[in-house]
Amino acid sequence: MTALSISNLKKTYKNGFVALKGVDLEVQAGDFFALLGPNGAGKSTAIGIISSLVTASSGSVSVFGYDLVKEREQAKSCIGLVPQEVNFNQFDTVQGIVLNQAGYYGIPRKLALERTEICLKQMDLWDKRNSISRRLSGGMKRRVMIARAMVNAPKLLILDEPTAGVDIEIRRSMWKLMKEVNQQGTTIILTTHYLEEAESLCRNIAIIDQGKIVENTDMVSLLARLNVDHFVLDLAEPLAVVPVLEGCHVERTSDKVLDVSVPKAVGLNQLFSQLSAKNIKVLSLKNKSNRLEQLFMDLIDSKSSQNNPTPQIIPSPNGRE
């Protein structure tokens, strides 16, 4: 079963800015899907269209087989949305916000109260249920929006940067929760700029850049494509010259730190035997950057230099709304 199917989706904003240039995407039911891309790529625009907040210029969207235009109400009933920016009434209480949303979804009062309690407890907000939402911290506000999105037990949960500005502890508990929710059968679409988050949570991935999908594959085969690993080595003793290591590219960042690019064909064993042979003692080693991050940068760079001679992202004249 396809949870979400998007075809040839285009969006031109009123000021003439083309945010989506024909996006095709399929997300299978039960998937944990990452939608990644740099700032201004069009992620929130696409999510806005899927959740009926933005009108598409052309193209079609269907959610669990329901066409978003022709079978609007059924399609909407399947979706729970955590938007990127705070959009609840800042004067309402935490519980009031979640309860009202349940009401909009047509959930009877008694059930709504039960579900609200479950969702707020899951989000560690039950103690705050009577607080005026304006007085919550940024991370708490984000959790209110997650609780609100889950109150209708959606089949498709869309999270637009849910972990931005959330502390490490809560972030970890959110990851755990998202995994659980996904294991219970909810399809999840996640956007995030923390690529390690996407790498550890998501099975499939699409990368969008300048309104176009530049990559759409599963995480395993994407990561397999990376054939060079970059490491940073901390040395025990200072080196005066850059050592020559066969098959690897070496750079010296300081006299006790080396940046080494190791092709998969060479491997770490060979690297270390060469280092031992040269009597270079390594104290510790770490990945230079997250693996996905590297692929991501490669994809974004190559595509934008193909489409656009100047690869920087040009901000729209009116900025964001």
């Binding site: 904003y13 009123k14 806005g48 959740s51 009926s52 907040l53 933005v54 009108t55 609007r72 109400e73 059924q74 909407k76 009933s77 979706i79 949305l81 938007p83 920016e85 959009n87 609840f88 009434n89 800042q90 009202n100 949303q101 009401g103 909009y104 979804y105 047509g106 959930i107 009877p108 009062r109 609100r148 209708n152 709304e321």
Partner: protein, 254 residues
Amino acid sequence: MNYTIALKTIIKKEVYRFLRIWPQTLLPPAITTALYFLIFGKLIGNRIGTISGASYMDYIVPGIILMSVISHSYSNVVSSFYSTKFQRNIEELLVAPVPNLVILTGYVSGGICRGLLVGVVVALISMLFADIVVLHPVITIAVAILTATLFSLAGFINAVLAESFDDISIIPNFVLTPLSYLGGVFYSVDMLPGVWQTLIMGNPIMYMINAFRYGMIEVTDVDVNLALMMICGLIVLLAVFCLLMLHKGTGIKN
């Protein structure tokens, strides 16, 4: 889908909103109208005498009640829906399976509740100054409800089109208040000089006030049936316009 729960949720939220901020929503009309009754009714009215057989106090009571209904149903919807739009919590309604008709009905019902509640408060205040009679209760209540509906719809349109907080005070200040004051709250049409008698016939609020006054004290300058038909016609017109705007996403969707 069962939309009654969604509708109830919106109405309840709207009613709680204006009840919670009653010092801003219910208290001011009580004070202003008490002053009207005191100054125009008691102090000046005693020197004016009667209009169409009614004492001046009795003559202005219906107009002042309906004027409050008009301004409060309008301002309830305009400020509530505009702030919903401004704070972006309109998105809570847009993502949910709530048809546009339910959204509109919910907000308009909130406006009607506030308009009628203020109407009752003003009527109670007026009892301190005059003996209130309601000769035709059905007409009186019907005119009050229909007028509140019409101006709630108008407030909704204003909120949808407004792009700043200034935009939500322009119509109330520059259109509604003048039309209400010139709508025959304080005088009868035949007290006006020549050309004004014709001009005032183009003011829809004049018809509503006179129909309401007819309901209470059986005094009117216009045909009550014509007035009722006109209000109903305008309601249909504005409701259709509201639904069209919601359908197109005017002012609320990019």
